[in-house]
């Protein structure tokens, strides 16, 4: 595929993803997995999981970081830029509309009902991402221990996510096997 066409596609797909990202942004993982890994094969599942941890560890907006990492992996710096701008565009349009009609939307019961419905589905969307990525992320005993520790740290403490990722990194360096994904049973 030509570079220009792929750039345009990245932009359009990211705009579509941006339009359907509600509730904190983690649902973007499932959408990217669907569009870039499953459908088009432009990224691997490993990359997606790696970037997820990096995106959360770097300052700034997590989903913009995520789009920069993924865009860069697919089409270099220009791809990263297109991905980030594409993702943000629907938000810009939506905010402009909502701001304009804010006073009438705020008290509207039907708007509240629709938003309640959308909010309810964010959890299953995140669960679907967990289910799809589990084989890539969890290989061997060490991985299970790290996962449980990270889960508990997130739920029970207000620890900075970057520190949790760093702890996982140290655990991997000390105890990991360093085998490439292919020769693991």
């Amino acid at each position: 595929m030509k570079k220009g066409k792929r750039l345009l596609l990245i932009f359009v797909i990211m705009a579509k993803i941006g339009l359907f990202t509600f509730g904190g942004g983690w649902s973007i993982i499932a959408q990217m997995q669907n569009e870039f890994v499953d459908r088009r094969g432009w990224m691997t599942e490993e990359q997606l999981v790696d970037y997820m941890s990096l995106a959360k560890s770097f300052p700034g907006v997590m989903i913009i970081n995520m789009s920069v990492f993924c865009g860069y992996a697919m089409e270099g710096p220009v791809g990263a830029f297109f991905a980030a701008v594409g993702l943000s565009l629907p938000a810009l349009a939506a905010i402009a509309v909502v701001t304009y009609f804010y006073s009438s939307l705020r008290g509207n019961i039907y708007v509240a009902k629709i938003l309640n419905g959308i909010r309810s589905v964010v959890v299953p969307i995140i669960i679907s991402a967990c289910l799809r990525l589990r084989k890539t992320a969890i290989r061997g005993k060490l991985a299970w221990w790290v996962l449980v520790a990270s889960f508990l740290a997130c739920v029970l403490t207000g620890l900075n996510k970057a520190l949790i990722v760093l702890a996982g990194l140290v655990a991997g360096l000390l105890l990991g096997k360093g085998e490439s994904s292919d020769d693991l049973s």
Binding site: G18, F22, G24, G25, I29, E46, V49, M52, S53, G60, V61, M62, I64, N65, V68, F69, A80, A84, S88, A91, L92, A94, A96, V98, Y102, L105, A112, K113, I114, L115, G117, S120, V121, V123, P124, I125, I126, I127, S128, A129, L133, T136, A137, G140, L142, A143, V146, L147, A149, A153, V155, K161, A162, V165, G168, L169, V170, L175, K177, G178
Partner: protein, 175 residues
């Protein structure tokens, strides 16, 4: 120059926060300092951000920019808040691609990948609790929507945009 001011303020907000609700106090300080908005209007930001798709950070930047300096203001503020991603993450993306296949990196990632899965599972749990358990106990109607739409997504392999539309429609009936 309001545009430059917006850009710099939101760049600062971006670098000082890790997204989500952690941005609110920093945003609060900045917009009050320049008299762009009142405290009550800052609270409106959260409501508007929840009504619209996209992350809180971009939505806040757009909202404040739009209120203070129109569409150009919204663009300046949005690019400001995107700056950490376009600099730090961009550089990191470059290096991680060059290190691909490196044995030490592979080892490190064996710990990093499950750690980020742990965060994802934790997000599902905490978000689930805050969504389905309100002040008046469990919201069974929302749990039902989640179950129906979730089954369509996971078992029925429905796409995410379609699932969201269905959830919105179910919300109109049951919410």
């Amino acid at each position: 120059m309001i545009y430059l001011r917006l850009f710099l303020s939101f760049m600062k907000i971006g670098f000082c926060s890790f997204g989500g609700m952690t941005m609110i106090p920093v945003i609060n300080d900045e917009v009050l300092k320049y008299g762009w908005m009142t405290s009550a209007e800052v609270m409106d930001i959260v409501a508007v951000a929840e009504m619209t798709p996209g992350s809180l950070g971009i939505n806040c930047a757009t909202f404040v920019g739009l209120r203070t300096a129109g569409l150009s203001g919204a663009l300046c503020a949005s690019f400001g808040v995107m700056m950490p991603s376009l600099t730090l993450s961009m550089a990191a993306a470059h290096f991680i691609l060059r290190l691909k296949g490196n044995r030490l990196l592979e080892k490190a990632m064996e710990g990093v990948r499950p750690a980020s899965m742990g965060m994802l599972v934790a997000t599902a749990v905490t978000l689930g609790i805050s969504t389905f358990i309100g002040e008046g106990g469990v919201s069974w109607n929302l749990a039902l929507i989640s179950l129906i739409a979730g089954a369509a997504l996971i078992k029925g392999k429905l796409s995410i945009p379609k699932t969201i539309l269905i959830a919105g429609a179910l919300g109109l009936i049951l919410g």
